[in-house]
Symmetry: C2
Subunit: 362 residues, 2 copies
């Protein structure tokens, strides 16, 4: 029976959570999961399926240095550092090489660091089902979330027939569709054949290596070179191979071209915590729909105010008076105010701050 | 020639500047006058008309204790402490007694601590003119500000005929009108006969003592008792007399009933800095009408935002994104956000904070 490894991809910066998130403290480090970080919650959530020495975090050099402070118990040898940001395909190749060097026939779970998923039991069952499907050493398993609205913020997976008549929740994945326009999204949701792409994958090492070689031979070659370099313990050769890998996404380079892709319906509550308004899933909400996420002794008071989101850390109080549908954030040396409707565009503000040379705030 | 004394009334709490203002740090302590406090600016503004040992501050016990920290150079023996809050009439009686104990025929200037008045030269000339009028030992002189809009936030003074054909700027004051409703305010402004009551007064000690005895004999008796107690250096007797004085305003108890009241037109720029939107007169305003008042290293960034007021102290940054006509305040342990249009009602928020038991924030 092959071993099961999990790889948590934690390279994102999360500018849509500024000023709570900064370069050295990305979204996945924020205490958004019942007071612990999304990253730590992602690790804990895997307890039922992987032993701790088979859980990996792939991240960038800045976050890799910050990680031991945030998660002192996480084993440092399980942290994989991407030499540079080259999208998800080289990242998957790196993780595959690291796991293959230990267990050439392992099963791999690949998942983002910054999602909220509950309940854990259902999540474990869902992964176990996928691990069983992936044991054929050829099927790449994805997870699809049933859309509750025609979102243009997620990619979609088109589902085909059942893999197995006895398993209604696992179907063939016919196509991957990137973030659609609203009309297309509405069509997808109406049809009932489309699920949101959760960004969680399960496959065996042999299956992903074959799919990389098939979908993008350059990527496949880079993955093999990384594996050889790791087996020879040559760090600089790993880095060189990584830098030679094509800068592209795993969806585009591999998933869209693979022949055996299954989609498992995710029977869990899933939230990618994309921007501040998503904190309604995390915080305390009062009768006037004001949600607050307060950490480290922070307090909030909402007077004649409704529908606002407050995020605050540290011994401070955020008081709202007569305001509606705002996001108000107070963390460290920064306060940020924007309408909820603009929270998804927060990168614009972050760019402005960068442009004004206020680099200490980033 | 009688000496001239000035009394700065600094007992207000300024809840409309919360959280910049707190109980121990009222509005007049805020660095709103070119980085110095309104109170200190009020003292400095009198340099051309009073010697420092004739400038008095009347305040409450809490602020009297805080004052030496904010203005270490101000002589402590010039600080008069109101034993309790009893509106302005007992406060004037106390100040009158203190001055009369030194100079029984002195001229007194009475003025609020929390107004911005520029330029100083014109202000000095205006006061000198009033001091000359008050030298008849019977006229109580007020200052009227030409209204630029039908404000319902100020009291009005109805002007009669000129005191002296040669002095067009000094007229008889016919009536005092408290804060009117909008229709009345519009009528006042249209008529051209009404000026805003600036809350600044000039009179001689004999004139105000006589006017108190005439307008409110109980008040007059309390003032005389305070004077006797001071001459005998009996502090507890001063306190007892103060507590016996009627709890009423000087406008109601004295000014409205006095027979010789003059109003001098204030040829100065006058701002009572009533609430946060008044900071447009104090701060830096950008092309999108965002005004910021930043002290102690604070910074602000306004991106796609207009018409906002930011007040911040300390090493922190307030960033606005896509917001309009808000007040955002970040001082010490508190952040406050409200629409500019609600800034005048901030007492409601402060009451709520008190009601919720968050007394450390007040």
């Amino acid at each position: 029976m092959p071993t099961t490894h999990a790889v948590i991809m934690a390279g994102g910066s999360g500018t849509r959570f500024w000023p709570a998130s900064r370069k050295k403290r990305p979204k996945q480090f924020l205490p958004l999961a019942d007071g612990t970080s999304l990253l730590e919650a992602s690790v804990r959530r895997l307890a039922g399926i992987c032993s701790p020495d088979r859980i990996w975090i792939v991240t960038n050099p800045v976050q890799a240095r910050a990680l031991p402070k945030v998660m002192p118990d996480f084993p440092r040898e399980q942290i994989l550092v991407e030499p540079e940001a080259r999208d998800t395909a080289p990242c998957v190749a790196l993780a595959t090489a690291a796991i293959a060097a230990k267990d050439h026939d392992a099963t791999m779970i690949l998942l983002p660091a910054d999602h909220l998923i509950t309940p854990v039991d259902a999540f474990t069952v869902m992964l176990q089902r996928a691990v069983a499907i992936a044991s054929d050493d050829k099927t790449l398993v994805t997870f699809g979330v049933v859309p509750d609205h025609p979102s243009t913020a997620y990619g979609y997976i088109e589902c085909g027939e059942r893999l197995d008549a006895a398993q209604p929740e696992a179907k063939k994945a016919l196509r991957f569709r990137e973030k659609p326009d609203l009309a297309t999204a509405e069509h997808f949701v109406r049809s009932g054949d489309f699920l949101w792409n959760s960004g969680i994958f399960v496959w065996s090492v042999p299956a992903i290596r074959a799919a990389m070689a098939h979908g993008n031979p350059e990527l496949g070659a880079a993955a093999s070179a990384m594996l050889t370099a790791m087996q020879q313990n040559k760090k600089s050769a790993v880095t060189r191979a990584f830098r030679r890998a094509p800068k592209t996404s795993i969806d585009y380079a591999v998933m869209e071209k693979a022949q055996h892709v299954a989609v498992v319906r995710a029977n869990v509550r899933w939230d990618d915590v994309g921007s501040f308004p998503a904190l309604t899933a995390v915080g305390q909400t009062d009768a006037a729909r004001n949600t607050s996420v307060l950490r480290g002794g922070a307090r909030s008071v909402a007077c004649e105010s409704e529908g606002n989101i407050v995020y605050a850390e540290g011994k401070r109080t955020v008081a709202l008076f007569g305001v509606k549908d705002l996001v108000v954030v107070a963390v460290g040396d920064a306060v940020m105010v924007c309408p909820k409707a603009r929270a998804g565009d927060l990168k614009v503000l972050v760019s402005r701050i960068e442009h004004e040379g206020l680099h200490d705030l980033l």
